[in-house]
């Protein structure tokens, strides 16, 4: 545990911190972009880090894009990244099902086309994507035909979520051997245009309640998101910095994996919340205290370019 925590990252401390790490992992929304706009200075920070010999990765709970789709979005916003540097939950869930769940068959998928694609790319066959309107009467629903090759149910963000999909997931999950995985528990999508859009966490709540079972969750703050990157690229946690805007996902992940942590104030969490966690007696809340905080990641640019 660091001797001091929740310290403002001054220019001098920036230099020191950057020298102590070889790799920087960034959350995306609220850190390097907001909606469809890059945070000013963020693209330059990424380029500078790379010029300084640091490896850079992006770790996001969003399940609606493949690695390539993220690389395309980042490219359009002026970031210089490659697809293999971006770890969203569509990709990570596919890896999780393949490597951790040891899946060798089909998965019933409540999720996006991006999730379907990432699953197919690792050799898992998804069923169920797309609209699924109700038909027939109640007694038909308990008897929907089940694909015997389905070995798991995977729940991610799905704008086509419906009673029928909830019902199918429940029927599969009545079999205790059927595995149950969720991409993330975020309750809302990042605010766009002022309306709060329900997030994957809501859909997962519905399925967990109906099935009376708990899902294995892939996304932050689960360690798997870091382990997925670390195992592919050989990272040393002590030489890694996690940069995020949410105490309960990004900073918690960093604490759990033994990374250094930096909270940026361009997103959800505030310094006041971090300090309240710091004063708390609760061990869980203590994990949601960053080592450092900064107004925006653009503020480390001077230290990088010096």
């Amino acid at each position: 545990m660091a001797a001091s925590k929740c310290t403002q990252l001054t220019a001098a401390l920036s230099r020191q911190l950057l020298d102590s790490v070889d790799c920087v992992l960034f959350d995306c929304d609220g850190v390097i972009w907001r909606g469809d706009q890059a945070i000013p200075g963020a693209p330059e920070v990424i380029s500078s880090l790379k010029k300084n010999g640091k490896r850079v990765f992006f770790v996001t709970n969003n399940s609606t894009k493949t690695q390539q789709m993220y690389a395309d979005k980042l490219g359009k916003l002026g970031f210089d990244v490659t697809a293999d540097e971006v770890f969203g939950t569509a990709y990570c869930s596919a890896v999780y099902l393949k490597n951790v769940c040891q899946l060798d068959g089909k998965v019933y998928l409540i999720g996006s086309n991006a999730m379907r694609q990432e699953l197919e790319d690792v050799g898992i066959r998804p069923v169920g994507v797309g609209p699924d309107p109700v038909s027939g009467v109640q007694k038909d629903w308990a008897n929907v035909p089940l694909d015997k090759e389905v070995q798991a149910v995977l729940v991610g963000f799905d704008e086509h979520f419906s009673y029928m999909k909830l019902n199918r997931a429940l029927q599969y999950l009545c079999n205790p051997d059927c595995q149950f995985v969720g991409t993330n528990t975020d309750t809302r999508l990042p605010l766009e245009g002022g309306k709060a859009v329900p997030g994957t966490g809501c859909l997962l709540s519905a399925v967990e309640t109906a099935a009376q079972r708990q899902a294995q969750v892939v996304g932050k703050p689960s360690n798997f998101m870091f382990e997925c990157v670390a195992s592919q690229f050989g990272l040393d946690p002590e030489r890694c910095l996690m940069v995020g805007d949410r105490l309960d996902t990004d900073i918690m992940l960093g604490s759990n994996c033994g990374l250094k942590t930096l909270l940026t104030l361009t997103g959800v969490s505030t310094v006041a919340e971090a300090e309240a966690n710091q004063k708390s007696e609760c061990p869980q809340q203590q994990k949601m205290v960053p080592d450092y905080y900064i107004d925006s990641i653009a503020d480390i640019l001077p230290a990088l370019q010096a």
Partner: protein, 309 residues
């Protein structure tokens, strides 16, 4: 004996004379429906005769169900179809009927209610004179960012809805952003049993989605919440000490009885088992102990045998 024992309700299996003694002490009998007096479209053997016999002996009989899919008039037809000869609409209390009563009489709603629910709920709301926000057909390309919100909505009611969609969830969540907007759920049942041991998602699962989306807790009308008992009592004047609750689901029917100070009977023709009841009885947690019934019967038909002896 009225069940108010602290720390350990009996799970006593009742037979013959014991059932007669229990009934002698009670004036009103509340029955759950699914798994107690019928299963799907089949009456539990002896149940119609039990209801008639209790009434002949001067007891009042009420039906208390979390099933919100039918309006009361449909329930009357179902009772008749299954051989229950003298059940009146006034004796039937469903979570749909009680949700409408709550909005009209307790919340005294000034405005409209946005409903995630089925035909049964809509009918009860209309019959109670509670205005419902109209659901416009989704235009192609409509999204949560562009769909109109009704400024008159002052309450959200969520229940079983086979037409549940992401859009409905998102709209309800928008309405709930105002702390003045009431948040009600018809019942908490996570799943409903169908014939052959199968299940289908219940109101509780849809409520969980909306609670997570809104970071708010719903006020639940159905069992095990007290409201349905208060609703019956406001119309018929019930004395808990002289009332008996008979159900098949420990976490809803028995806990409901417990919450209202009623003696409780678990019948084994539905969802919960004797082993589950004993586990609740022997639990250290107070909330779990309240799910253990005072008495257990194989079936409501046991009452018939007891009364005819």
């Amino acid at each position: 004996m009225a069940g108010a024992a602290v720390g350990g309700r009996g799970c006593v299996t009742l037979r013959g004379a014991q059932i007669r003694d229990l009934l002698d002490a009670k004036h009103d009998v509340l029955f759950d429906c699914d798994g107690v007096i019928w299963n799907g479209e089949t009456a539990v053997t002896g149940a119609p005769e039990v209801v008639s016999l209790l009434k002949q002996r001067g007891k009042r009989v009420f039906f208390v169900t979390n099933n919100c899919t039918r309006p009361r008039e449909n329930y009357v037809q179902k009772f008749s179809r299954l051989g229950f000869t003298d059940v009146a609409e006034e004796e039937i209390f469903s979570s749909a009927y009680c949700s409408a009563a709550y909005l009209r009489d307790v919340a005294r709603l000034q405005g409209k209610v946005y409903v995630i629910g089925c035909g049964g709920v809509m009918k009860e709301l209309r019959d109670a004179g509670v205005p419902v926000a109209e659901e416009e057909d989704a235009e192609p390309g409509a999204s949560i960012y562009t769909c109109p919100l009704d400024p008159d909505v002052k309450a959200v009611l969520v229940g079983y809805d086979e037409n549940f969609t992401f859009m409905k969830l998102a709209k309800a969540c928008c309405y709930l952003r105002s702390s003045e907007c009431l948040f009600l759920a018809t019942d908490p049942d996570p799943w409903h049993p169908l014939r052959g041991g199968r299940v289908t998602p219940g109101s509780g699962s849809l409520t969980a989605a909306l609670e997570t989306a809104s970071s708010r807790k719903a006020t639940v009308i159905g069992k095990p919440s007290r409201f349905m008992f208060d609703c019956i009592s406001s119309q018929f004047g019930l004395d808990p000490a002289r009332s008996l609750m008979i159900g098949d689901r420990l976490e809803t029917d028995v806990l409901f009885g417990s919450n209202c100070g009623l003696a409780t009977v678990l019948t084994l023709t539905g969802v919960s088992t004797l082993q589950e009841a004993l586990a609740f009885r022997d639990s250290q947690e107070p909330q779990q102990k309240h799910c253990a019934p005072d008495y257990v019967m194989e079936s409501v038909a046991d009452i018939l045998q007891a009364l005819e002896e």
